[in-house]
């Protein structure tokens, strides 16, 4: 019995080779539809994973002030009191802002040298030690051809001159690539805000967050503050990505809707010849199930082929072209070809779903006509 199925599978393979043009056209349609989608999913998953890792490795609590429902700076006068709360192991004030370096938007992070996370490493140079020294991300380095020792000026509330003393690794996070890291005081001077931080990161002993929150309430009870823990930050990230994925999916659905008819048409190429062939098969003793099994094997093989090529092309798209055209949907304000290594994760489930989807599409294009031809009298099908 197994020999019959092997025979049908081999015949399906031969049929795909015999109908090369049709096979190539259907494959191209599958690739054109699936490749961008697989690439987008991989980029989205990569960014999401990197974001969640950075959140996981970050602080346990983040405290900021709230003005008119928006984030506002928190005065440093509370820092000492916060550090004294039982369970707090470290309280780190930061200034995170944005500024233009000539025409390029950069993320400016001001933090005390001793509070710099260990995960931040330099591919060349060193971390800042003195005033007006900065470390820049790989993308900025590439864009402005910056070298260690180069100087540049930036204007926030006031103009300041800085000296580049280090460069981030190109494999650092997507945010790090356009980041300028400087001392907390330098950032305060640049933005003209002394005595405040954009947030205070609180590292705590395990299980102490609620007690710390109660103590913070006592300290800041008359102030409009907002306290966020890791879970909340993770939730923001997830929501943000769902929105971006949603926008991409909406745009993609339009392209997809145009691609589906192409697959259906391509799958149905040579329908009259196929109908006649099915009539001959039936006349010579094939039954309907055998005919449909053969057709299903053909669609299975062509879907497998198309989806595999689509996955390979997606990997190349990410590796060689850094997800050009698609990365922009997920990362704001990056050029068409991002200058940092794009984080991408090719998970098995989306790849399997792609194959399954291709199979369904090709089956839809062929199974009904084949079923109809094989259930009609052979005399009619052979005409």
């Amino acid at each position: 019995m197994i020999h019959k199925h092997i025979n049908l599978f081999l015949l399906a393979t031969e049929n795909l080779l015999r109908h090369r043009t049709k096979t190539v056209v259907v494959c191209l349609c599958i690739i054109a539809i699936l490749s961008p989608f697989i690439t987008a999913i991989a980029i989205s998953e990569g960014i999401r994973a990197q974001s969640l890792v950075s959140v996981k490795e970050g602080a346990d609590l983040y405290i900021i002030f709230d003005e008119f429902g928006r984030n506002a700076a928190i005065p440093l006068k509370y820092l000492d009191e916060i550090k004294k709360i039982f369970g707090v192991t470290k309280a780190i004030p930061r200034i995170i802002g944005r500024g233009f370096l000539q025409n390029k938007l950069a993320v400016i992070v001001g933090i005390n040298k001793e509070d710099i996370p260990k995960s931040i490493t330099c591919i060349s140079g060193r971390i800042f030690e003195n005033a007006n020294e900065v470390v820049v991300g790989h993308e900025l380095k590439e864009h402005f051809k910056l070298q260690i020792g180069d100087q540049f000026s930036m204007r926030g509330q006031q103009r300041k001159n800085f000296t580049v003393v280090g460069i981030f690794s190109s494999d650092s996070s997507i945010w790090g690539s356009s980041m300028i890291l400087m001392s907390f005081n330098d950032a305060g001077e640049l933005f003209g805000k002394q005595g405040v931080a954009t947030d205070i990161q609180i590292h705590s002993l395990p299980g102490h967050n609620s007690e710390i929150a109660t103590d913070l309430y006592d300290i800041l009870q008359n102030e409009p503050y907002r306290l966020q823990d890791k879970q909340m930050i993770q939730l923001y990230f997830k929501k943000g990505f769902m929105l971006k994925e949603g926008i991409f999916t909406a745009l993609y659905t339009v392209a997809f809707a145009l691609g589906i008819p192409a697959i259906l048409v391509a799958s149905g190429f040579g329908l009259s010849e196929r109908k006649r062939e099915i009539g001959i098969m039936k006349a010579t003793g094939w039954n309907t199930l055998e005919v449909l099994e053969l057709i299903s094997f053909e669609q299975l093989l062509i879907s497998l082929l198309g989806a595999t090529i689509a996955i390979v092309l997606s990997i190349l798209w990410v590796k060689l072209f850094n997800g050009a055209f698609i990365a922009q949907f997920f990362i704001a304000e990056i050029p068409m070809l991002a200058k940092f290594t794009l984080p991408a994760r090719f998970l098995p489930l989306p790849c399997l779903l792609s194959f399954f989807f291709a199979f369904i599409l090709t089956m839809v294009g062929s199974i009904y006509s084949s079923w109809k031809a094989s259930t009609e009298s052979p005399v009619i099908s052979m005409k």
């Binding site: 020999h3 019959k4 025979n7 006649r276 003793g285 309907t288």
Partner: protein, 220 residues
């Protein structure tokens, strides 16, 4: 062996007029007989053979084969009957254009699970029998009409059928191939097969055990 009981087949034409291809045909064909159906074009010969050969279902009446009412058979049962008992030779050959001679001949063996080597061997023997041993790898368009018909004959014989149904087998081939075919069918009949042929060819009447004349869908 084969019986029909008040067999009729009607078609709806494009002009919505009903075409009565065969009407109220009752006949009996005994095992191992050579039967021909003759009549003018449109007399219903092909339709009758198609219905007897299970390629088409009758509108009315019944067909019995081996004392079983095959008109009530399911699609799968009819396929099994065709696969095990019946070989068809069509007027237009009905070969699959992209397949070679041996692949066309062995095509019915694929769902039987016969492995490719055995299929090739079987096809080769049959093609040699119809004197096409040197055309194993030719596709139909590389063969003459007579050669294509011989491939079709080889295909009809691939499952050792007990019943061979041939529809105008000599109408598209030359005289010599026609003679060869007659000889082959006679030989098959002598080996125990039952032969049903729709034909205008007078040579077949000479060897037939019985000749049915059809006119306007009825047996005269």
């Amino acid at each position: 062996m084969i019986k029909t009981d008040h067999l009729s087949k009607y078609y709806s034409s494009h002009s919505h007029h009903e075409v009565r291809a065969i009407r109220d045909i009752t006949l009996e064909i005994t095992k191992n007989s050579f039967v021909t159906f003759k009549g003018p074009s449109g007399s219903g010969k092909t339709t009758l053979l198609n219905v007897i050969g299970t390629l088409d279902r009758p509108t009315e009446g019944k067909v019995f084969m081996y004392d079983e009412d095959i008109t009530s058979f399911s699609d799968i049962a009819l396929s099994r009957l065709r696969r095990e008992k019946i070989g068809f030779i069509f007027q237009d050959f009905h070969l699959i254009p992209r397949l070679t001679s041996w692949e066309n001949v062995s095509y019915p063996l694929i769902p039987l699970g016969v492995d490719p080597k055995k299929r090739f061997e079987r096809a080769r023997l049959l093609l040699e029998r119809v004197e096409l041993g040197d055309r194993l790898d030719h596709i139909p368009e590389e063969l003459s009409g007579g050669q294509q018909q011989r491939v079709a004959i080889a295909r009809a014989l691939v499952n050792d059928p007990e019943i061979i149904i041939a529809d105008e087998p000599t109408s598209n081939i030359d005289e010599e191939t026609g003679e060869h075919m007659l000889k082959l069918l006679t030989e098959l009949k002598n080996n125990g097969a039952t032969i049903l042929v729709a034909t205008h060819d007078a040579r077949f009447e000479k060897v037939a055990d019985r000749v049915f004349k059809l006119k306007n869908g009825r047996i005269e």
